[in-house]
């Protein structure tokens, strides 16, 4: 196997083993219901994490996604409440806005040469602040179109559901995988992660790519916000606090390096599922107090990362030993 794919393989392996462990303890964990839930419940996180993967591969970070999701929900509800626009038109306007928002952050990062961490931190304050200004109340969405969208699901045998938003997440991942690994844009993203200076010398259109990456992340955060609003059929300015950290964790567990330049969109999907699995396991267990929940989540995160590191270095050693056997 190509050694570049090793981190991905290791992540998949860990996920499968972890699922098996959970199944051994709670047989109900293998039901289609739980699998359907994993996809539906993590749909918004997954979609946001795809954008985050691109940003991180390019060597940046986007802390604004959680706030953008909240802003999206509030924006949609307010628009649906105060105007007579069709939800699809609202979606279009909204995605335009969040894409522009991301692009603007990308511009600032590139033109002013400011660290992404800080620019997107300001973006995080701004997006949530705007959500507050639009409405501090949580507002329900009651639009027939929304109800129709929510009623779309494919019933799996065993009462599990593959919902519209779960399916949408899988689609976004498929799109992300192609975009990252099979387009020139994707190669440019990896190139930026390898070093902006060098990428520039090699003729990568740095400005265009940087802006496009953050615009993509903004777009996907907006899409994730739409999914979130479908998930909860409401808009709430305090929603999705800290989703950016979950997304970062998922991306990293998925085998993408935070330093940029190397990673897999497919790995991020596994990372999201692993995070979902941890949560499901804790809920199935149901005996942990509030504080033990936090400690266990932290500990499991550590275990996954350590396992990954351990397996990778083991594989590395094996490979170099094999190489020496040949010579």
């Amino acid at each position: 196997m190509n050694p570049r794919l090793l981190p991905l393989a290791v992540t998949v392996l860990i996920f499968v083993v972890a699922y098996a462990v959970c199944y051994a303890q709670f047989p109900a964990m293998l039901s289609t219901r739980v699998i359907g839930n994993l996809l539906t419940d993590n749909a918004f996180l997954g979609i946001a994490a795809v954008g985050m993967t691109f940003v991180i591969i390019s060597g940046g970070i986007d802390l604004s996604v959680g706030s953008v999701i909240a802003f999206t929900g509030v924006f949609i509800t307010v628009m649906l409440r105060d105007t007579s626009l069709h939800p699809l038109a609202v979606f279009a306007i909204l995605l335009g806005l969040t894409t522009l928002f991301g692009a603007a952050m990308g511009m600032i990062i590139h033109v002013l040469r400011m660290p992404p961490f800080i620019v997107t931190l300001a973006g995080m304050f701004l997006a949530r602040g705007l959500a507050y200004i639009l409405s501090v109340d949580s507002v329900p969405i009651t639009h027939p179109f929304y109800e129709w969208l929510q009623s779309l699901y494919w019933l799996l045998p065993g009462k599990g559901r593959l919902t519209l938003i779960g399916g949408l997440m899988l689609l976004v991942f498929a799109f992300g995988i192609l975009l990252a690994h099979r387009t020139r844009f994707g190669a440019n993203v990896f190139a930026l992660g390898g070093g902006v200076q060098t990428a520039r010398l090699m003729g990568v259109p740095v400005a265009r790519t940087t802006v496009a990456i953050y615009a993509l992340s903004g777009f996907l955060a907006g899409l994730s916000g739409i999914v979130f609003s479908l998930y909860t059929s409401a808009g709430y300015s305090l929603a999705a606090v800290g989703v950016e950290l979950d997304a970062i964790a998922a991306v990293v567990i998925g085998g993408t390096l935070l330093t940029g330049g190397s990673g897999f969109v497919a790995g991020t999907l596994i990372g999201v599922l692993i995070m979902g699995l941890i949560q499901t396991y804790i809920i199935f267990d149901g005996t942990l107090s509030s504080w033990w929940t936090k400690i266990v989540i932290g500990a499991l995160l550590l275990v996954f990362i350590m396992l990954q590191k351990g397996l990778l270095s083991l594989a590395d050693r094996r490979r170099s030993l094999r190489a020496s056997g040949n010579t």
């Binding site: 190509n2 020139r184 990896f190 520039r200 090699m202 003729g203 330049g261 010579t327």
Partner: protein, 508 residues
């Protein structure tokens, strides 16, 4: 050929960095179908000139003409579009991408809008085969040595150069065979009517390949000559603005009582898959040279010896006593020093001043509690800047902004400042101009006379022959031969390197 039309021309080019006038009204012209060498001391402005020509830097003044039309490349992409392919001095490729992606970035073949991996890899393999390289192009670039990366960079630039190819010290990390192959490619491009700019400090190579020579000194044009009308001494005078005193002394070779206890002795040092276990001892005042082809395992040997990479078993003795050698810190505590081959990633601390870079190793050895006084640091830095002729406006300039050769000298100063007993130099003269080259060789000789032991890795066999008391030859990750004293000649080293090994030879 001299009547060929001018392809690329610079008129009155100027570029100023804070504190440095890197280019001062330089004229340069490149004709179609010629190889034009650009020469000068370290820091003369060669790299800056080509960076201005290719849009990597914005020039302060002057004009650039391509085929008579004024151009103004704002970035390297634009230069590439205009048919100018460039290899910059520091390997400027992306270590995290695959070799194939590096070669074809921005031009990957597509099918149905998607990049075709198979096609990309095929084209990449084809591009490299011209240079005799058959490697797995789907692996990331950083799994290959600097030399291979250099070849990849050249292959990329060649494929981008519709009209002009610019090579900034492309041969610094290549061995003879690779250089020969590169020159074959360059000659065939020349025959196709391309203009080629060639920067190098290897004067033999310059005379071998170039048609005309432009010399810069301190950012100014010194002159343009036909290579055929110029001899070596004249050229050096043009570059340095003075005579080079090339004293050839007899170093009293041998003179070593090899029966006497060695200063440092490695026994059974090695690492599975990296380098076969070897024994190596170094005596007081001895210079051991290390020769071998690309990827033969010289750098790995050095890293194991300095404990910069883990080794499997084996023991090290110093003055007959066993030495604990688990990390570079142990090595430094034992009086070792190591100037690595890849100065950009393993050598310089780019954003720190020349002064801080020079005192770093000394300071690290003394520990953080005993800071080297600022006045002492300045003294030391100024002293080395003078002694090694490091071209910098002052000691406070960030080392990353120095020219390549001057960075190399500052790194040497870092180790000299610790006054080591045993110094390992991996390609110490890479990218260093003739004047400094002679200077460094003289210094190596002086150092060993004063009792320092040296291990010097170099691809320049002439150089090894000049100063080595003993030469170790490495082939296919095994130490295969040791030449002592009078046995050391260029021919004997080449013979040892080339001797077919019992196992079937790999194609590289």
């Amino acid at each position: 050929m001299t009547n060929n039309p001018t392809l690329l021309a610079a008129v009155g080019l100027s570029k100023t960095f804070p504190g440095t006038r890197a280019l001062d009204g330089v004229d340069f012209d490149l004709r179609a179908g010629e190889v034009h060498a650009l020469l000068g001391e370290n820091g003369a402005g060669k790299s800056t000139l080509i960076k201005c020509l290719t849009g990597a830097y914005r020039r302060d003044g002057g004009d650039i003409l391509l085929e008579g039309a004024s151009i103004d490349p704002r970035d390297t992409q634009e230069a590439q579009r205009l048919g100018i392919g460039t290899v910059y001095q520091e390997v400027n490729l992306l270590p995290n991408l695959t070799v194939a992606d590096n070669l074809l970035l921005g031009r990957q073949p597509r099918r149905l809008g998607l990049v075709s991996r198979r096609e990309t890899n095929r084209i990449a393999r084809e591009m490299l085969s011209r240079y005799g390289l058959t490697i797995d192009v789907a692996r990331s670039l950083d799994s290959y040595s600097v030399a291979i990366q250099q070849i990849v960079a050249i292959a990329r630039a060649v494929s981008l150069s519709g009209k002009v190819l610019i090579l900034d010290e492309p041969t610094a990390s290549l061995d003879r065979d690779e250089v020969r192959m590169l020159f074959d490619v360059v000659r065939s491009l020349r025959a196709q009517g391309l203009g080629i700019v060639f920067i190098s400090h290897f004067l033999d190579q310059v005379f071998d390949i170039s048609d005309r020579i432009t010399v810069l000194r301190n950012g100014r044009l010194v002159g343009v000559r036909d290579a055929a009308t110029l001899d070596r001494t004249q050229l050096i005078n043009m570059m340095l603005g003075r005579e080079l005193s090339e004293e050839t002394r007899d170093r009293g070779r041998g003179g070593f009582d090899y029966a006497q206890r060695a200063r440092i002795a490695y026994v059974g040092t090695g690492r599975a898959g990296v380098i076969a276990p070897f024994d190596l001892s170094i005596h007081r005042g001895e210079v051991v040279g290390m020769a071998g082809l690309l990827g033969s395992g010289r750098t790995e040997t050095a890293e194991l010896m300095f404990a910069a990479a883990p080794r499997d078993g084996g023991s090290v003795n110093k003055d007959g006593k066993p030495l604990k050698l688990a990390s570079p810190r142990d090595a430094i505590a034992a009086g070792f020093g190591f100037s690595p081959e890849d100065r950009k990633t393993s050598g310089i601390i780019g954003d720190m001043s020349v002064r801080e870079n020079i005192v770093l190793a000394l300071q690290a050895r003394q520990g953080w509690m005993r800071p080297v006084r600022l006045s002492r640091q300045r003294e030391m830095a100024d002293d080395y800047i003078r002694r090694l002729d490091i071209r910098t406006p002052d000691a406070e300039k960030p080392i990353g902004q120095l020219s390549g050769g001057n960075q190399q000298k500052a790194l040497l100063a870092r180790w000299l400042a610790t006054n080591p007993e045993f110094l390992i130099l991996d390609e110490p003269t890479r990218g260093i101009d003739v004047g400094a080259h002679a200077e460094i060789i003289r210094m190596i000789e002086n150092l060993c006379e004063s009792g320092m032991s040296l291990l010097v890795i170099s691809s320049e066999l002439d150089e090894l022959v000049t100063y080595s008391h003993r030469v170790v030859v490495v082939r296919d990750r095994v130490h295969v031969a040791e030449l002592i004293g009078e046995e050391i000649t260029t021919d004997s080293i080449v013979a040892a390197i080339a001797k077919p090994s019992p196992a079937p030879e790999t194609s590289a």
